[in-house]
């Protein structure tokens, strides 16, 4: 192997005096695919972005030689020559990484004219070429499209085209597939792989997903809290992981811990018959001024969810699965029948100007929810006691303050956030904390405690673990399983992640474009998928997830 393209020595990054990356060393050869793996907070993104000094508030130490030039010592002016020219970046969220006010072609053309010195006409031809190379359908038309007119996958392709416009020697891809659906993920990785080979550039892939790495990278670096704990060829790391942290990451994929179970002989907790949800949407053009169009987000859904069981709803973004969740919560107007414990939501409770009748309040108590994003699901201005105890204020207003506090403590213990015993003063101080003082997994536990405290029969879980790190995800799934056993809870589990379905669900319902395409027991649907769409979903995930019976 010749001299490495990039040689990083003793890289340290600190924010406001607090060091988050503690001196890491690595090398990257030309044309190599290197993966930087770690959980959130491990410093993987920070280390990669600080190479280009893209974090204005970071204090960066050490050296990073790119073909003999130290990136960390270059002047800001020289560095601008390197950025986007020799080293390009792809970011996680293509919606925010593209400027919404310019067409895609415009943004790619900017790089071509600035960095490559092409004329406007030459650039135009090259833009279409680049977009075509990323597999964008109808590249001429897409070049004139604005980011919001593209789908998620197309935006990511545009981002890649933009990064490749300057023919970089090194491409830094920061979680390039996290925001995409499963089936798009593999496509996007394959695309990156072929482009990388054709252009002979080196690729630094930042990800939290170890299984992505196995598919894709040559070598892997594992970061834990700013320390490089393991590095080596992918095969070696996966076969014989040396460091306990790596082993923990590898072993933290959700497992199914129960076998097929016959449905219990009990009336269903949640029952849907010919359920349909439609939105009013503005029509395009002048007609939209006078008449509104209708968009059917969900139609013809039928299922029964018995007590103590989990119904997994799978589908990609836009398939209507979140709409289904909101309808089950009684927050959306719907047609057809949707019954909680034999009682229908009815018309009166829907819409923004809801009547808050005693009947609806009683019904709402039966159905609670845990959302995906642990950061937006807790009000930042309320402390834990207020957040968790609020349900009691509504549903059991007769409780005194100490009684309510005891219930809050009990709920928090139940979700494993508080120890079983401890000095009273210490526990009370926990109750006074605010959400920003907790980690993602802890916040998710608080959200579960908030739902559990009113003793619901049904919990709607809207992507409960997809914003969490793998090890935390595992813990939350175990918690959910335990709670289901202990309280005979029913779960309506909404997710795009088949692993989570496999770990939790008894029955599965596959949604595509608002309609159910397949429905059945988890074993049946995931192991012998019938519908081509389900097959493609399972296949997109199959190389990553060999399903084994417990």
């Amino acid at each position: 192997m010749s001299a490495p393209l990039l040689q990083v020595r003793g890289l340290r990054v600190a924010f406001a005096g607090l060091e988050v990356v503690h001196g890491i060393d690595f090398e990257l050869a030309a044309g190599e695919r290197l993966a930087l793996v770690g959980e959130s907070g491990s410093g993987k993104t920070v280390s990669a972005l600080s190479l280009l000094r893209l974090l204005p508030e970071a204090e960066v130490g050490g050296s990073a030689l790119l073909q003999g030039r130290d990136l960390l010592r270059l002047s800001e002016r020289e560095l601008r020559g390197v950025r986007g020219d020799e080293v390009a970046c792809i970011f996680q969220e293509p919606m925010t990484a593209l400027n919404p006010l310019y067409t895609v072609g415009n943004q790619i053309g900017e790089i071509l004219t600035l960095k490559k010195g092409l004329s406007a006409r030459q650039a135009e031809a090259r833009i279409v070429e680049l977009l075509a190379a990323t597999g964008m359908p109808e590249p001429e038309r897409r070049a004139r499209a604005y980011p919001h007119q593209l789908s998620g996958g197309q935006r990511q392709r545009a981002m890649i085209a933009m990064a490749l416009a300057s023919e970089p020697r090194l491409l830094i891809a920061d979680e390039p597939t996290t925001a995409l659906d499963a089936s798009l993920r593999t496509q996007m990785l394959e695309l990156l792989g072929t482009l990388q080979q054709r252009l002979g550039m080196a690729l630094l892939l930042i990800t939290h997903d170890l299984h992505l790495v196995r598919q894709f990278a040559d070598r892997v670096l594992v970061l834990e809290r700013g320390h490089l704990v393991e590095q080596g060829p992918v095969a070696q790391v996966f076969e014989q992981a040396q460091h306990p942290y790596t082993r923990k990451l590898l072993g933290s994929r959700p497992q199914r811990t129960f076998g097929p179970q016959p449905p219990p002989e009990a009336p269903p907790v949640l029952r849907a018959r010919q359920l349909a949800v439609a939105y009013e949407v503005p029509r395009p053009g002048l007609a939209g001024w006078f008449k509104r169009g209708r968009f059917e987000a969900v139609r013809g859904v039928e299922f029964e969810l018995p007590p103590g069981r989990t119904l997994g709803v799978v589908g990609e973004s836009g398939s209507g699965k979140s709409t289904l969740a909101l309808a089950a919560l009684g927050l959306l107007r719907h047609q057809g029948e949707l019954q909680i414990m034999g009682e229908a939501w009815g018309e009166s409770g829907m819409g923004p100007a809801r009547a808050n009748t005693p009947r609806l309040r009683r019904l709402r108590r039966q159905v609670q929810v845990v959302f995906q994003d642990p950061f937006s699901s807790l009000s930042p201005r309320m402390n834990i006691e207020q957040i968790v105890g609020e349900g009691l204020l509504v549903h059991e207003p007769h409780l005194s303050v100490p009684q309510r506090r005891a219930r809050v403590l009990q709920a928090l213990r139940e979700v494993g956030l508080l120890p079983e015993s401890g000095p009273q003063a210490e526990l009370l101080r926990w109750l006074q904390r605010y959400p920003h003082e907790f980690s993602g997994g802890q916040r998710q536990r608080i959200a579960i405690a908030r739902a559990l405290i009113v003793q619901p029969r049904l919990l709607v879980l809207d992507e409960p673990t997809s914003a969490l790190d793998v090890t935390v995800q595992q813990q939350v799934l175990e918690l959910l399983l335990r709670l289901q056993r202990e309280h005979n809870l029913s779960y309506l589990l909404i997710t795009h992640d088949l692993d989570v379905i496999w770990a939790l669900a008894h029955q599965v319902l596959v949604l595509q474009g608002g309609a159910v395409v397949e429905q059945g027991s988890a074993e049946q649907v995931l192991q012998l998928p019938q519908h081509p769409y389900t097959q493609s979903l399972v296949q997109a995930c199959a190389p990553l997830c060999p399903r084994t019976e417990p």
């Binding site: 959130s40 100007a353 101080r429 926990w430 920003h436």
Partner: protein
């Protein structure tokens, strides 16, 4: 935000919990200029609230003939101090002053021995007269003490601004909250109403109304508040529109909270950042508005101590530099302090700085 803190609460003692509000207050305190501005402004305001104790033509306490009087609270007739008339005592009268120089009698005067309305009949020069030992900042064209009028004028301006800001915030938050929370048709109608209402010529209305009605502070307050809420309601509406679709609001709905509870407990506290940030700037805008109206003669009734009226006097008596200079200094100081406070508040509530 680390993974390894996943374990349940450890036995190590915790630092006291910090609410977002307290964190913001901490950042505000770290902003020296803003924090000291707040202290100075508060001090000046409290002092001006006790203006009667600082600038008054009556003594705070007086002892005459073995009897203790508090003329500040109850002014006895001159006869109580050896005068001939049953009229309230004028303590600037040389006769009364001589009475108190007699042994056994004394009077405790405030530092400025003029009320904002009292005229100095004993000034050595014609009015407006320049700064002297008795009138520190001179007198205005009617012989009233400028320092006293500035003090009372400052108090009036700040109180008026506080009232106007409070009413404006209340109306603005209410209108914005309702529009933002309900959205849809309510929002549409509200926005159109605001557009129509906002295009009304405020100044002409003020002129018309000041001709129709007896001019007074209450009228001004009502008229200015009718228009003062609109800027704020837009911000509150935007915050409500954003916050109402966040997951914690959905969770609260699923919990069965009423609309009013959701608005008050969940959305409002998270939507107050623009409101709080703009408070000092709204205050200074209110002070400026009152000053401008008084300057034009459309504001408070004649005789009321007001900064705008003093500025107008300064304009009419250019050679009496003490009037315009003093008023100018008070206005600049007030507005500057408010602006510094606003800057610090904006920094303290900057969401980008919350992360650190």
């Amino acid at each position: 935000m680390s993974v390894l803190t996943e374990a349940p609460a450890s036995a190590t003692p915790l630092p006291p919990a910090l609410s977002p509000g307290r964190l913001a207050w901490r950042r505000f305190r770290r902003h020296r200029l803003g924090f000291y501005s707040l202290i100075l402004f508060g001090l000046l305001f409290v002092l001006s609230l006790g203006a009667e104790l600082i600038a008054n033509d009556r003594p705070l306490l007086a002892r005459y003939g073995g009897q203790l009087h508090a003329p500040l609270l109850h002014n006895p007739p001159e006869t109580a101090f050896g005068g001939d008339f049953e009229t309230p005592t004028d303590f600037h009268d040389p006769f009364i002053q001589r009475q108190f120089e007699q042994p056994g009698n004394w009077a405790l005067f405030p530092p400025i021995r003029f009320h904002h309305s009292s005229i100095n009949y004993f000034a050595p020069e014609p009015h407006p007269s320049g700064p002297s030992a008795s009138n520190w900042l001179g007198t205005d064209d009617r012989g009233r003490d400028v320092a006293a009028r500035l003090l009372y004028g400052f108090r009036l301006s700040v109180l008026f601004a506080l009232a106007l800001t409070a009413v404006g915030v209340l109306l603005g938050v209410l209108a914005g909250a309702i529009q933002g929370y309900y959205g849809g048709r309510v929002d549409l109608v509200g926005q159109r109403f605001i557009e129509v209402w906002g295009s009304m010529p405020e100044l002409y209305l003020l002129i018309i109304f000041s001709a129709l009605f007896e001019p007074g502070l209450l009228l001004l307050l009502v008229l200015l508040s009718l228009f003062g809420w609109m800027g704020l309601s837009d911000y509150v509406r935007a915050e409500f529109l954003r916050n109402r679709q966040l997951d914690y609001v959905r969770a609260a709905r699923a919990m069965g909270l009423s609309n009013w509870q959701i608005m008050r407990r969940h959305i409002l506290p998270n939507s107050l950042t623009p409101v709080v940030t703009f408070l000092p700037f709204r205050m200074s805008a209110a002070i400026l508005a009152l000053t401008a109206l008084d300057f034009l003669g459309l504001g408070v009734p004649p005789g009321t101590p007001s900064l705008g009226e003093l500025l107008a006097q300064g304009k009419n008596n250019l050679d009496a530099w003490w009037i315009s200079l003093g008023t100018f200094a008070v206005l600049v100081l007030t507005l500057l302090l408010l602006t510094f406070m606003g800057d610090a508040l904006r920094d303290a509530l900057d969401p980008r700085k919350v992360q650190r």
